[in-house]
C-alpha cells in the first residue's frame, strides 16, 4: 500500500509566551488523510484547530515551535524541508483557505490580477492563456460573470463572492490537499450551502483531499468522511462520520451534539431544554489535572481527576480519550459513556 497523502504523527506544538514560558497548544495529535477523503476537525474556540492546520503549511509565527512529531506529505516529513522547498509545495500541492477571505486577497489589486499571478506562479501559463484559465476557474467556482469580476477589486464583492474567488486561487494549481479553516463561518447559511456544495463538486472532479476545520457539527454532518474532535489542544475522539453521529463515545462529543439546536429533531423535542455543557473551556495555561474535560463532565470519577486518559482504540477505526470508554486497568467501571448515557 502506498503511504496516505497526509500523515500527522504525534505532533505537539508550543508557543513561547511573553513572560518566557511555553504553553503547549496542540498535544500529541495524530491523523491520516487518504486521497480524496474529507477530514473534519471540529472543536470549540481555542481548541487548537487552526494551529494544527497551519502547522501543515508551516505557517505558524516566530514564537511557535514543534515539540515533537512529524507531518508527512506523501511520505516526506514537511518539518525537515527548507523554506525554499516549502514554498514550492505551498500553494501548489497544498493550498489553504481561511475564514476571512480578505486574508488571502490584496485590496489594491484586481481579482483578475491576483488570480493570474497565482496561475503564473505554479504553471507555465502566461498572458492570454493565464487569463483564459482564470476565467475558466471563476466559472468553475460558480461566478456567473467572470470577465467583469476579473476587473473588479476585492472590496466590491460580497463575502460569498470573495470566498469563491479565494477558492478559485486555491485550486488554480490543482492541489492534492486543500486545507479549509472555517471557510463558511462568516457567511450566511444560504451562501454556506453554496460553498460547501462547491467544495464537494470540486473534490468529485479532482480527487482532492480536504481537511476542513469547523466548530459547527452541521458542517461536519454535511461534509466529513472522517471526524477528529478536539478539546483543549488534544484529540478526544476520532471516528468515521456516520459512527460518530450514530453513537458519540466521548462525553464532550455527546455534549456538543445535545447542545446543537437542530431543525431535524423529532417534533416536540425542540420544546425541551437544550442540554448544555456547564462551564467554559479551560485556558491552556490553567489546564486541570487528569482528563482536561473532567471539570465539565457529567461522569467524572476519581481516576479522571488524577491521570490523563490515553487516546485509545474503541472498536473498529475509532479512538476515544476517556476513562469510561477505555477503563484503566484495576479500576471498577461503573458507568458507560455510550450514546445513551446522557
Amino acid at each position: 500500500m502506498t503511504a496516505p497523502l497526509l500523515e500527522i504523527d504525534r505532533l505537539s506544538i508550543g508557543f513561547k509566551t511573553d513572560n518566557g514560558q511555553a504553553v503547549t497548544v496542540v498535544e500529541d495529535l495524530s491523523l491520516t488523510a487518504a486521497e480524496g477523503e474529507t477530514i473534519c476537525i471540529v472543536g470549540e474556540s481555542g481548541s487548537g484547530k487552526s494551529v494544527a492546520s497551519q502547522s501543515i503549511m508551516r505557517l505558524l509565527g516566530e514564537n511557535a515551535f514543534i515539540q515533537q512529531g512529524e507531518i508527512r506529505f506523501k511520505g516526506d516529513n514537511l518539518l525537515n524541508k527548507s523554506e525554499k522547498e516549502l514554498r514550492r509545495i505551498r500553494g501548489k500541492d497544498i493550498a489553504i483557505i481561511f475564514q476571512e477571505p480578505m486574508a488571502a486577497l490584496n485590496p489594491v489589486f484586481t481579482v483578475g490580477h491576483q488570480l493570474r499571478e497565482a496561475i503564473k506562479l505554479h504553471s507555465k501559463r502566461k498572458g492570454r492563456e493565464a487569463k483564459e484559465y482564470a476565467i475558466d476557474l471563476l466559472r468553475r467556482v460558480g461566478i456567473s460573470r467572470p470577465e467583469s469580476i476579473m476587473n473588479g477589486y476585492p472590496h466590491t464583492l460580497s463575502g460569498g463572492m470573495k470566498q469563491r474567488a479565494v477558492i478559485a486561487m486555491a485550486i488554480a494549481s490543482k492541489p492534492q490537499l486543500l486545507i479549509a479553516d472555517e471557510p463558511t463561518t462568516a457567511l450566511d447559511v444560504t451562501v454556506q450551502a453554496q460553498i460547501l456544495q462547491l467544495l464537494k463538486r470540486l473534490q468529485e472532479g479532482s480527487g482532492t483531499t480536504i481537511v476542513l476545520i469547523t466548530h459547527d457539527l452541521g458542517v461536519v454532518a454535511e461534509m466529513a468522511d472522517k471526524v477528529v474532535v478536539m478539546y483543549a489542544g488534544q484529540i478526544v475522539e476520532q471516528a468515521d462520520a456516520e459512527s460518530l453521529f450514530d453513537r458519540p463515545l466521548h462525553p464532550y462529543t455527546q455534549g456538543l451534539m445535545h447542545a446543537m439546536p437542530s431543525l431535524q429533531k423529532a417534533a416536540g423535542a425542540n420544546d425541551e431544554r437544550l442540554l448544555s455543557i456547564p462551564g467554559t473551556v479551560p485556558a491552556l495555561n490553567r489546564l486541570p489535572q487528569g482528563c482536561r474535560f473532567h471539570t465539565r463532565c457529567a461522569y467524572t470519577q476519581e481516576c479522571c481527576k488524577q491521570s490523563t486518559p490515553p487516546l485509545a482504540a474503541a472498536g473498529e477505526n475509532r479512538l476515544v480519550r476517556c476513562w469510561l470508554a477505555v477503563p484503566p486497568t484495576g479500576i471498577e467501571q461503573n458507568a458507560t459513556a455510550g450514546g445513551n448515557a446522557i
Binding site: 470549540e44 450566511d188 447559511v189 457539527l217 454532518a221 456516520e242 446543537m260
Partner: protein
Amino acid sequence: MTTEVVNQESAHNAHHALPIARLDNVRTYYPIRRGVFSRTAGYVRAVDGVTLNIYPGETLGLVGESGCGKSSIGRTLLRLEDVHEGRIWFEQEEITHFSERRMKPLRTQMQLIFQDPYASLNPRQRVGELLAEPLRAHRLSVNAEIAAEVDRLLELVGLPRSSKDRFPHEFSGGQRQRIGIARALSVQPKLIVCDEPVSALDVSIQAQILNLLQDLQKELGLTYLFIAHGLGAVKYISTRIAVMYLGQIVELGDKNRLFDSPRHPYTKLLLDANPVSHPRLRVREKVVLDGEAPNPASPPRGCRFHTRCPYAQAKCREQEPQLDGSIHAAACHYPLW
C-alpha cells in the same frame, strides 16, 4: 391598512392579547450619499413596508439572509432609526414621532442585546459599575439598594458575585453575553430585541445562553424579538417566526408549522440550506438557493424574490404579492400549499 392586514390581525386576536408592540407598514430607508456635496443619490430600502405585531410573552423569531433588514427592524422598533413612512406602537401608544424626552421613560421598557456584548460594554468600567449605572439613572438611589440589586442581577444571569470587581475583558464571550443580558435586565424591560445574541459563541455556550434567555422569559414575563442566522437556535427559542427577504416579511407563522411545512418558496430554500444533523440525511444534488439577494436600493419589480425563485411565473414579475390573511401567512402568488 389593507383588508389582509385586518384579517391577520383578527386571526391573532382570537388567540392573543393586544400586541405589546406593533409596526404598521413601516419603511426605514438609509440615504446613499455620493460626491463632494454628499448628495442623496438614492435610498437603501432596508425595511420596506413591514407590518408586524409582537404579543406579550412571546418570542418572535426573525430570520433571513444577511442584509435583508433584520437589525433594521429591531432598531426601528426601538426608535433608534428614523422611519421614512409608517407607524410604530408600543403598548397601545403611537411612538413614531416621540421626542427623545418622551422616549426616555420608554427606553427602560425596551432593551437591545447585541451579538458582540464587548462592543457595548465600557472596557474601563468594572462589571459592578456597569450594572449600577443604569440602576442609578432609572430606578434606585440608595447605594445599599443598588449593591443588593447588582448582586441579584448577577445571580439571575448565573455569574458569581465576585464578578463585580472585574473588568469585561477578564470574561469569556459567553460570560460577557451574560453581563450584557444583566445590564439589559437592570432597567426591568418588558420587551428585548435580541440581535444575534449567540452567533459569536461556541456551541456549548450557545446552549447555555439560549436556556438562560428562556428561563428569564418565564421568570420575568419578557417578550423577545429574536434575530438570528442560525435557524436551529431560532426554532428552539421562538413561538412564531417571521421570514424576511429584501426588506419585507414573506412568511409569518407558528414555528412548528412554518418549519415543518413552509408555504413560501424562499422559506423552503432557506430551510434546505441549513446543514443536516446526521451524515445519513445528506442530500446529493441538493437544490441550493442560487446567487445572492439583489441590491436593496433597487429591488426587483413584482415579487422581490422572482429573480431567484424556481416557481416564478409571468405574474410574479409584474405584481407584488401581499401577505395573505391567514394565520400562517405567506406573500407569494404560488405558495407551496
